[in-house]
């Protein structure tokens, strides 16, 4: 067991840190939350800068523009990005492309699909969204009904998707469709949908944050080339499981690094917030809970390192992405609850009352989604119980 970064990891860290310090000031300021064109422009610009400097797709294969480096460099990358306050891919409009559509193409796409999309994703030229969920198929995703019927070298697709994050700025969509209505899991196909195809209608939904971050996706006689199929016809469920393994596994890592800084921030806020003659930090209960949460985040980060190390050694992640996903999403919500307690009446404002307080309140709302999206906590517990512990269904 070795937790020291290798010399080459440390060299990478130093180079990256120097580059970020120089590059970050060149990035345009953060746009308004609902200015989708500007958000896309900024996130993809940053991606382009990373690409030109050789920092895009750290562990993606070099032949598609990635760095072809180890997973440990990937962890170092996230640590440095977060430390510097640079844009975090976890909340980028292209988190789907970077964190799970891209990796799925690396694992399951054909050469043409890889060559077509992977370099474009890394350069910041292509943004992806995820069309998996449907109004009647959330946790029970395999019951999805969006129908695809073969017509020559095209599929003709009709149906509805929902909660599609950043659909309004996406160029492509990882789309799950039903190709065989007679069978459930074995009747699903994974397609690449160009969002500018006629018949695609994006209708924004409002989130609890009042943001139109996700949308409904209506598909009306949408013609998708058969060449856009990833994996075989009716083998899409297996491919979707690959997508999930990235979505639940590695894609929370950037968030988690960020969370450790948020906790430091919370401790700082607690020292600012007035409480009686002192500050909230003088409250033993509050202080202790902050310490507790810090211990949990530290431990979770070490679990990520264990999982990554096991994956590097054996090719399969260790105790499972579900463990990390479940624990992190519930922990970050407890941290948010604690933050609201620290802020007390200042939590009534999403604009800053103290420096940074608004962000804390906004985060409490945003993180409500984490125990729901990418498989709810209940579904993760089912997975752990059945697939890891071998309990009967």
């Amino acid at each position: 067991m070795d937790l020291l970064w290798s010399e080459s990891d440390e060299r990478f860290r130093a180079e990256l840190r120097a580059w970020i310090a120089e590059a970050l000031p060149k990035l345009p300021p953060e746009p308004k939350r609902e200015d989708w064109a500007a958000r896309r422009a900024r996130d993809t610009a940053w991606q382009g800068m990373l690409h030109d400097a050789g920092y895009a797709g750290i562990n993606w294969p070099a032949e598609y523009g990635g760095r072809g480096a180890s997973l440990s460099e990937q962890l170092v990358f996230y640590e440095e990005i977060t430390k510097a306050g640079a844009p975090n891919v976890g909340v980028s409009v292209n988190f789907v492309g970077m964190l799970h559509a891209g990796p799925t193409l690396i694992a399951e796409g054909n050469d043409e699909q890889r060559a077509r999309h992977l370099p474009a994703i890394l350069k910041g030229e292509e943004v992806w969204c995820q069309g998996f969920s449907e109004p009647a198929a959330g946790s029970d995703l395999a019951s999805l009904r969006t129908r695809a019927v073969r017509d020559g070298d095209h599929y003709v697709v009709n149906g509805q998707k929902i909660w599609t994050s950043f659909a309004q700025v996406a160029d492509y969509c990882e789309l799950l469709v039903r190709t065989d209505p007679e069978s459930k899991h074995k009747g699903i196909t994974w397609l690449i949908l160009p969002m500018d195809t006629p018949g695609v209608d994006v209708r924004p939904l409002k989130t609890v944050l009042g943001s139109s971050e996700f949308s409904e996706l209506y598909l009306d006689d949408v013609r998708i080339p058969v060449a856009n199929r990833v994996g075989d016809e009716n083998d899409g469920w297996r491919v979707a499981m690959v997508t999930f393994s990235f979505e639940r596994g590695t894609s929370l890592v950037p968030e988690m690094v960020e969370a450790r800084h948020q906790l430091d921030e919370l401790a700082r806020l607690a020292r600012t917030v007035q409480r009686g003659d002192g500050t909230a930090w003088d409250d033993t209960g509050v202080r202790r809970e902050i310490g507790h949460a810090a211990a949990e985040l530290d431990a979770l980060w070490n679990l990520v390192k264990r999982t990554v190390s096991e994956a590097a050694r054996t090719g399969v992640p260790g105790v499972g992405a579900s463990v990390v996903k479940l624990y992190y999403s519930e922990l970050i919500q407890r941290i948010g609850d604690l933050a609201l307690r620290v802020l007390d009446r200042a939590s009534l404002s999403i604009d800053d009352v103290y420096e940074g307080s608004g962000h804390v309140v906004e985060e409490r709302l945003r993180t409500l989604a984490l125990t729901i999206a990418a498989g709810t906590s209940q579904i993760q517990r089912n997975i752990i119980g059945e697939r890891i512990l071998g309990l009967p269904r």
Binding site: S72, R287, D298, A299
Partner: protein
């Protein structure tokens, strides 16, 4: 960075597991209730296997291993619920003659608030006390101790002592700091082993026990409790291994935050898993016959050893960078 067990560490883990299965099956552990938790012959078997001496240099009769290996060993001892002052005797090896060889059983405590509760009073040869000023060998002839007929944990008999005096000095303040850190991690490792085996046993029970014509493990209410047991164990195990590695590798920076976090989470994993295991076992879980209560009681005992969860949460909070 490669945070997996090396093949040597895997072999060590495997070896200690087999040793425990052979020497400390549950019937034998239970039999130790009648002898104050320690049987000299079995204690020597632990010593011969290197449990106490493994971190001493080879010249001193040890194996020259580190805290990571010690944590791996103590995790296995925890799985088997091996009783006795294992951590104290391990810490005393090389400093108290006879400890490493298993000839003298060394107990100890933190000198903090009264009352002082001395564990395994009838079987220990030496009682150590740790405080901010160092390590001390307590002069037991001058100790006023009251025997306890009914201890919480039947495998951890105790005396309640007053007026604990320092005796002969066995270490300087710096030694005390180091002992506290090492002892904290070793107790944490033992607790993780307990949390782990409790998960395993509860899962086995949930697969075989049927109600409503189905295994109870198929009920989500039960399944989800078991999933949480696994999650708590894996999170705590990651923390404990990391803390041990921090103590071995000074280049990783000060170890205090990692160590306190590890003990905090390991204590919670073991106590929560033992409570959950009781629930999963239903009425059987409340019987003396099923082992779960022995784990629960030990978990509560160890949760107070080398600092409580609250103490460690305070420590981590104090070390947050702001």
């Amino acid at each position: 960075m490669d945070f997996t067990l090396t093949s040597d560490q895997e072999a060590l883990q495997d070896g200690v597991r087999k040793l425990c299965e052979g020497v400390f099956p549950m019937e034998r552990v239970r039999a130790l209730i009648d002898v104050g938790g320690v049987d000299r012959a079995l204690w020597r078997e632990l010593a011969d296997a290197g449990v106490f001496s493994l971190r001493l240099s080879e010249d001193d009769g040890g194996a020259g291993l580190g805290m990571a290996e010690a944590a791996i060993v103590f995790e296995q001892l925890g799985r088997a619920l091996v009783p006795g002052p294992l951590v104290w005797t391990h810490l005393a090896a090389g400093r108290v003659p006879g400890a490493a060889e298993g000839d003298r059983v060394v107990g100890g405590l933190q000198r903090r608030d009264e009352p002082f509760v001395v564990e395994h009073p009838d079987v220990i040869d030496v009682l150590l006390a740790v405080d901010d000023d160092g390590l001390w060998e307590v002069d037991r002839s001058r100790l006023s101790a009251r025997a306890v007929d009914w201890p919480l944990d039947p495998l951890t008999p105790v005396h309640v002592a007053g007026g604990l005096l320092r005796g002969e000095r066995r270490g300087v303040p710096g030694d005390a700091v180091r002992w506290r850190l090492e002892g904290t991690v070793l107790v944490g490792a033992y607790l993780v082993g307990m949390a782990d085996v409790l998960t395993e046993r509860s899962v086995d029970y949930a697969k075989s026990r049927e109600q409503f014509d189905r295994p109870i493990g198929s009920f989500q209410a039960v399944k989800h409790m078991l999933a949480d047991m696994l999650v708590r164990t894996e999170v705590a195990r990651s923390a404990v291994y990391a803390a041990a590695v921090h103590l071995d590798e000074p280049a990783l920076g000060p170890p205090e935050r990692a160590v306190s976090g590890a003990k905090l989470l390991a204590g919670e994993a073991a106590t929560s898993n033992a409570k959950t295991a009781t629930q999963v076992h239903g009425g059987m879980g409340f019987t003396w016959e099923v082992d779960v209560h022995l784990y629960l009681k030990r978990a509560w005992v160890l949760d107070t050893a080398f600092g409580t969860g609250d103490d460690h949460a305070d420590t981590v909070a104090g070390l947050l960078s702001v």
